[in-house]
Amino acid sequence: MPELSRRRALGTAAALTAAVAAHTLTAPAASAAPDDHHHDSPEPFDEVYKGRRIQGRPASGSEHHHHGGGFEVLVDQVPLHVMRNADGTWISVVSHYDPVPTPRAAARAAVDELQGAVLLPFPAN
């Protein structure tokens, strides 16, 4: 299993610090302009939830296969595997049997489930 590298740990800590700072100083970048994405795509989000940065955005690149309809979710910069169900609900690998309405709700459910634990990057997850 991949272990948390010092570099990643430092990067995650730095990102978290930056996210907290950004959250304090500016409004969270949660509200993208509606024409930034087609109407079927979920709203991007970027917020600090329970002390952790959660982000959702259109997937960049093709290094991972995405099952979120081209949408990716990160917890403290680590990708969280998410999936969109046929009815539009979402699940993630840490809450796989319990659909929620949006990818932001899936990210928050993941933070709740993790209880502070560091997510491992997939393909591990």
Binding site: H81, A86, V94, Y97, D98, E113, A117, L119
Partner: protein
């Protein structure tokens, strides 16, 4: 012949042998290969793409074969062992004997969900969580915390009465028996039990908790009960369905078995109620 029994009726010796065989598979690394396989299919099965292990008609035969592989591995350690099943519609309390220290151990402590008793507690030293999605290496549970109630027998019966095995679009949006048993629609049987247990059971690496096998052995038994109640209904679809395993198509990862080969469980084992 293997007889799968209700876990509530196992003798102390049967429990001891089951636990010992599971721990031996863990020690040799064979156990974790099952966790890895399950997670790969959880991540790979999608409603609009190829789907085999979950959210598709082959959910039931795929898990039947997966459990057979696991049971055969257990029997290579101790030939007397069979997979027990957990009827969660009857044994629906965290105080059930299933969760006693001589069997699976109980729920996790509130601080971090860590299971503190039984043979699979991290403190016993025999159950490292190696195939994982986060940094935590201890078995976790939160029995009844994320959803209050396990399914009732009446809810089970309402699903067993659905005469059609599965329906287009053959995924989590389907009507019919399979998807109601799996739980993406309706009263929610299988999925809800994963959520009720919590911890790793609520994640893609759910086989990290040995109760995974007892849960799925009961789901598998409900498929057999459904067949008995609906003798004129068969597995669907029967051919030509993109991304979906038809009756006569082989299933990954084994590639040597078709749903058609797995419809009759009595070729492999019987239940104590058969």
């Amino acid at each position: 012949m293997t007889v799968r029994k209700n876990q509530a009726g196992l003798t102390a010796d049967e429990k001891r042998r089951f636990v010992a065989a599971v721990l031996e598979l863990k020690r040799t690394g064979r156990y974790d290969a099952f966790v890895t396989t399950h997670n790969a299919f959880i991540l790979g099965d999608t409603d609009n793409g190829e789907r085999t292990g979950h959210r598709s008609p082959s959910f039931l035969p795929w898990h039947r074969r997966f459990l057979l592989e696991f049971e055969r591995a257990l029997q290579s350690v101790d030939a007397s062992v069979a997979l027990p099943y957990w009827d969660w519609s009857t044994d629906r309390s965290p105080r059930s004997s299933l969760w006693a220290p001589d069997f699976l151990g109980g729920t996790g402590r509130s601080r971090d969900g860590q299971v503190m008793d039984g043979p699979f507690a991290a403190s016993a030293g025999n159950w490292p969580i190696n195939v994982r999605v986060d940094a935590r290496t201890f078995l976790r549970r939160q029995l009844g915390a994320n959803v209050r109630e396990l399914p009732t027998r009446a809810e089970v019966d309402s699903v067993l009465s659905m005469a059609t095995y599965d329906m287009a679009p053959w995924n989590s949006a389907s009507d019919g028996f399979r998807n109601h048993l799996e739980g993406w629609r309706g009263v929610n049987l299988h999925n809800r039990v994963h959520v009720w247990v919590g911890g790793q059971m609520a994640t893609g690496v759910s086989p990290n908790d040995p109760v995974f096998w007892l849960h799925h052995a009961y789901i598998d038994k409900l498929w057999a009960e459904w067949q008995r109640r609906n003798p004129r209904s068969g597995y669907l679809p029967t051919g030509g369905t993109p991304d979906v395993v038809d009756l006569g198509e082989t299933m990954k990862p084994w590639n040597d078995v078709r749903p058609a080969d797995l419809l009759d469980h009595t070729a492999h084992y019987t239940f104590d109620t058969d």
